[in-house]
Amino acid sequence: MDVIDQLHAVKSGKLDRRAFNRSLLALGISTAVVPLAPRRALAAPEDHATYFTWGGFDIPDYFDEYVAKRGELPNFATFGSVEEAFNKLSSGFVADIAHPCLSDVPRWSSTGMFQPIDTTRLSNWADMIPELWDVPYNVKDGKPWLVPFEWGQTSIAYRTDLFDLQGDESWDMLWDARHSGRLGCLGAGGDVWWCAAIKAGVPFDQIHTDEAFDKISAVLREQRPLIRMYTDDTTSLDTALAAGEIVASMAWNSSVVTLSAQGVPVKFARPKEGALTWVCGMMLHAEAPKLDSAYDVLDSLISEKAAIFNMRDYGYGGVNRKAFAQITDDELAVLGLSRNPVEVLQAGHFGIPQTPEWDQRMTQTWEQIKLGF
């Protein structure tokens, strides 16, 4: 049988295929033997806290103080959108520190998954800009739920060469029918709804009324046919602006900083009605397994150096007051910031947290408008 088999194999070229099968098998075994378990050359990752954040914040530049103290970087887990991160955490994933935004705090803190932060354990806390965190819903027994890390404004980024600006910069730019089909918008209700309120002239303390709902949805419905894309990722938005796919869009400061650095003629508007201010930062998990290390991570993230990096390289506002002394006026102008950050904060509109029912109704209405209903 064997001989016949072999002969037959040679005749029909099967031997080569056998060789091929063998090599496949070898490949399989070798890859299967390589262990899939996490591997790290230095100390065990068990020694450090895990920081769950956007890809791009998992870089050594923020952790000089941490590394100086503990010898190496903390662990990272990354996400691309806060909502996915929230889903993963809700399903039981434990990371010592997570990175949402201030507007997420009411919802996130209500889950019981987080603990207020003891600021006496943070050596850099004295340099923190208080206006960034000291809002009622972020404080429990004098301790903040969220420690700010980066902040900025939601306004309009527009191409100075392609957008035909008439009169003052204003939110009307994103409702300009002359540029129909070439306008972009953010996708998150947390930004869009509040900006539309500014455009519709609804004062933020009135935003919970039915009348406000009608006004704001009407404004957003009016805008939808003009919009080419709703997006939440900066890469898509910036690429579209750079390619001239869209000529103006609701955007964050960082977009303008990166685009300008690439030589794209783009400007961050200071709308006459005012822009929307946002703050993001870190929350501490209630069951953080590496609490001491986690506090060192937090301390490192609010250091002067981290704040300078945020402003200079990523185009976000820094949270450490000392950092502002290091930044030139020109750099501040591109960022849409000023030497005294509190000025900007007071000039801008700050979202006011609402009830869960309001949140529910707002996001539902907004998602429906986005989908065209």
Binding site: R18, N21, T31, G55, D233, T239
Partner: protein, 271 residues
């Protein structure tokens, strides 16, 4: 061995079509290498000058390299293990008459319908309940769940109507069922197995949801790439990495061809 009527003659229009198809398939892909050499950050025309900076950047980004190797390992393990599970399953579905088969088959195909998000969230909840630590193993497990329906779908058409006379002959000649499987069934169905391996590898290599929900601190490549969307300045080095993946896989394919390992199994002549 046989002379196929019409098949030994080249079919011009069909060959032309195949060429056009390849162009459609590859044309958008070719922009990836093109822009990986572009000095500008954004993927747009006009190009802004030639640079190798993104490749240099790549070598400094250790997390990105790690993510890549994680993905290769997961994909290799997933493609092998899901094929190993799918071959007997497809054989069983194709050949045996058994009560409740239809229900079982539709059940196995369910992951195709379940949105990735739901599957990811639910599997994470299960694993947490069981106290399993998240690692690449859990990612591989999740990928197997997703890949299995595809693997079976690819293999099924091969096994349906596969003539069993060869297997019977082998059994008659005294071969054990195990050896019959290894020496007759498997080789005869090699095109299907190869297609299955390729498909499951490709799916696992580019899968995001299971990877996101079921991974701990070790990311896979798609996860890493998606998480970078907030920072456009890192985008071009992703293009550079993809270019290297393309070049390396082409090099591997052609090298193995030169070594006479791949492709010398003219499947059509096997019968």
């Amino acid at each position: 061995m046989a002379r196929y009527i019409g098949f030994h003659r080249p079919n011009r229009p069909l060959a032309l079509y195949a060429g056009a198809f390849a162009v459609f398939l590859y044309l958008p892909i070719l922009f990836i290498p093109l822009f990986s050499f572009n000095a500008g950050v954004y993927v747009k025309f006009p190009l802004e000058g030639f640079t190798l900076a993104w490749y240099a950047d790549l070598f400094q980004r250790e997390p990105l390299q790690r993510a890549f190797w994680n993905s290769v390992q997961v994909a290799a393990v997933v493609s092998l293990s899901s094929t190993v599970l799918a071959v007997p399953a497809a054989m069983a579905i194709a050949r045996y008459r058994m009560p409740g088969k239809r229900a079982a088959v539709s059940f196995i195909m369910l992951p195709l319908v379940l949105p990735g998000l739901i599957l990811g969230v639910a599997l994470l909840t299960v694993l947490n309940g069981l106290g399993v630590r998240l690692s690449l193993v859990t990612v591989a497990l999740g990928h197997m769940v997703i890949c299995l329906p595809y693997a079976i779908s690819v293999l099924l058409p091969r096994f349906i109507g596969f003539s069993r006379s060869l297997e019977e002959a082998s059994a008659d000649l005294g071969e054990s069922p195990w050896w019959t499987f290894l020496r007759v069934t498997l080789p005869c169905n090699m095109p299907g197995v190869l297609a299955c391996l390729l498909m499951t590898f490709t799916i696992s290599f580019d899968e995001f949801f299971m990877a996101f929900f079921l991974s701990g601190t070790e990311p896979t490549l798609p996860m890493y790439i998606w998480s970078q969307l907030r920072f456009p300045q890192d985008f071009p080095s992703l293009l550079a990495l993809s270019t290297l993946i393309l070049v390396a896989s082409f090099a591997m394919v052609f090298a193995s061809l030169k070594l006479g390992r791949v492709g010398l199994a003219p499947a059509g002549e096997r019968r």
